[in-house]
Structures are given as C-alpha cells and as structure tokens.
Amino acid sequence: MNQPEPETVDLKTGEDIVSARKKVRTGMIELGFTLIDQTKMVTAASELARNTIDYGKGGTMRIEHLVNGERIGIRLIFLDHGPGIPDIQQALKDGFTTGSGLGLGLGGSKRLVNEFEIRSEPGKGTQVTVTRWR
C-alpha cells in the first residue's frame, strides 16, 4: 500500500473543523477502516479540533497514515501554542470544562481511540496525539 506524505490542516475557525473531519474520513476510507471505526475517529477528531480552536486559540492537525508491515493505523496530532492545560488529570475528567461545553472533549475522545497521549506546558501550548489501529 502506498503511504501518502503526512498532511497538516490549519485549525482556526468552525469551518476548519468540518474540513478536518473530512480529511480524517477520507484517510480512514483509504486505509480500509470499518464504518464504525471511521465514525469514532472522525468524532474524536471533531472534539479535539474544537479544543484546539476554543482553548488553544487555534493550531494545526497533522494526519499520518501508519503502514507498518501488517499493522495499519492512522494517527492525528493536534498542536496549539495556547495557554496550555495546568492540570491534565482534571481536564480528562468527564464534565470538567473551563469553557461552555459539556466537558466531554478530552475524556470522550480518549475512549474513542486506541492510543491517546497528551502533553501540555502552561504558557507554551498543548499537543494531543491519538491513534487508531485497523
């Protein structure tokens, strides 16, 4: 299988969230993920892209196709240079929010992926990496 170059999408406005979702959907179809897997990953991408915009003051999403022998996966990296998250454990709890949402974004998207990694430094920004294997 040919492996496309990783692609980076800007996340600044609500419409960028729609394009990010479309890019993730297309990538997952190319990699042969099931409809349920596609829906979970696209939903996680939507939550994380909105976090990047609402809390990170905008940033980027990078899509990587992972084709490693028999193992096929997709990885999304959300990066912002916003204020950062002072307490990650608290931010991962359902219902916790500093904004006006439901507080499901981080904890909820963690449940929709196979691997979830978050790094944040107050004043420097946040990077969330999620991976789903086929």
Partner: protein, 126 residues
Amino acid sequence: MDKIPVLKIGDILLITIQVDMHDQLAISLQDDLTARIVKDHAKGVLIDISSLEMVDSFIGRMLGNIAAMSQALGAQTVVVGMRPAVAITIVELGLPMENIQTALNVERGVRKLKSAMDESDKGFQR
C-alpha cells in the same frame, strides 16, 4: 451562507439536517427554529439526522438545547434517523441523551409527537 430549511406540516416543524454542520450553522438553526415555533404556533419539532455521519458533543449539546428551548415554548422535540455507527459512538463518547426523545425514523417520530400532543390536549381539557 448555508441555512437549514424548517418545514411546517400541520402542528409539526420538520428539520432535515443534510449538511455537515459547522458551529455557526448550528447556532443559527436554534435561532430560526425558536422563532418559527412562536410564529407557526408549532406543538412539535421533528429533527431528522439520518444524513449526519457524525454527532459530536457540540451537535449533541445543540440537539439538547433545541429540545429544552422548544419545551420552554410548549413544543415537544423528537430526534429521528440516527445511524447505528453514530449511536455506538455517542454512547462511548459519553454524550448525555436523557433529555432528548428519539425515534427510529420520521414516521415513528410523527406518531410519537402526535400521541404526546394528544396527551397534552387532554390535560388541557380537564
């Protein structure tokens, strides 16, 4: 800018969400719909989401808000046509759906609304 059409069928307003919703569109739908409930004296709102490939917490919150706003204006809301993959995903996401009435398709949704409307009419006569 895109707009989501609101159709009137008797006492019911029908909304079919057919586009990949961006946030601004979701907010303008809330505004349009509440205005139409008042203008058309609607007693029920049916939201068809069968074209939606994904429901995230933002859209979930919007559906909950619409149900609550309609309730405040005396109209019931039923969300119909959720795709199976979407149902599986929102449960894992943890989206609270207790406040949202659902039905499998438009036909069953109309039936659900009609019986709820009949009940509330009876209560009014008593």
